[in-house]
Symmetry: C2
Subunit: 205 residues, 2 copies
């Protein structure tokens, strides 16, 4: 489904390379962009250039930042005082965890999970850097706990267990997120495995 106008097709093709954008959505976006005025399209083009020029990974935790070396999380003295380090798959997860407003420590971004079927091994993640950080911090007595906050799927579980293994030589406790009934949900909607876990990990009222 195309109007056969080359520049529209090209834009739709470029947009369809973005995550979660299929051919039909790309076509709709391209036609939406045509309706925008020149200033609006220029704004979008500038924002694209800007993000490409300014964004880099933090030297310490590998989250995205505009700072020359370390990100704002790693520079925050309050967070540096926290004895807990939170390991996540991607910077998006940090944004999500921050929106919960419960965790106030520093992060470590793996930029993926171990997924042998997709050809992603431990060496493709920032695990060596994680070990170095934990070694340094636990030596100084500044780190007590590493929370592994990964997805509750096979890749997430594998990676969590791998991290537990590689950190076993250091004096830190490795924890993971609790599994259970989502807040606001109904018992009837929860799958058996989740309900099983929720029962096993029941909490005193």
């Amino acid at each position: 489904m195309s109007l056969k106008v080359p520049s529209i097709d090209r834009l739709a093709h470029e947009l369809s390379k973005l995550p979660g954008i299929g051919a039909k959505t790309a076509q709709r976006l391209a036609l939406g962009i045509i309706k925008k005025n020149e200033r609006e399209v220029e704004s979008l083009r500038e924002a694209l250039q800007d993000v490409k020029e300014k964004i880099r990974e933090c030297d310490n935790c590998f989250c995205y930042t505009e700072n020359p070396k370390e990100c704002d999380f790693c520079l925050d003295p309050k967070r540096l005082d926290s004895p807990i380090l939170c390991v996540v798959k991607s910077p998006t997860d940090i944004a999500k965890i921050e929106s919960a407003g419960v965790f106030k420590g520093c992060y470590h971004v793996l930029h993926g999970c171990i997924a042998p079927l997709d050809g992603v091994g431990p060496e493709d993640l920032t695990l060596t850097e994680l070990i170095k950080r934990v070694a340094t911090l636990s030596k100084k007595g500044e780190l007590i706990e590493v929370v592994v906050a990964l997805d509750a799927d096979m890749e997430g579980d594998t990676t969590s267990l791998y991290i537990k293994e590689i950190l076993s030589d250091y004096e830190v406790s490795v924890t993971r997120l609790a599994h259970g009934v989502p807040m606001g949900s109904y018992i009837d909607f929860v799958d058996q495995r989740t309900l099983g876990r929720a029962l096993e990990n029941r909490v005193k009222l």
Copy 2:
């Protein structure tokens, strides 16, 4: 939910202005763009500039084109021979109709429908130009029928009836798309009004 990195937030904000893109999708797209290499992002930026520089509306039918005056549909001698003109709301609808492969005539893009609640009146559409085209073509005896292919909602129906009215002085028959049971669908899934129309407009086997 944001990482509080200004250039990422700005890109997400620009992306959220596109049709059908909410704040969360925009954030996901922005983070997806960061993962692209520079050449890929430059490709997207070029495609955006290209579409803005090259695309204009056809002088005749108001479809999008890169041609200096008339679009490929209006320049196609086979289509010019067709005695049927198809009126659509937007260029997207042309792409959709073309994909059906049944209609081989010329189009006329209204760029909207009459929608008093949204402040869109007949004067905001390309209706004056439609009347001129129909007047010229019907005079020459080159046009017999105008198919109004608009959405089956209130705005579409209102606009269809309005077009029937303003073309009543010309010797053309004004038709609209058939309503009925969608192909591959089941009687049980079709709403009452559609089923009523399908019964009224039943066709001999």
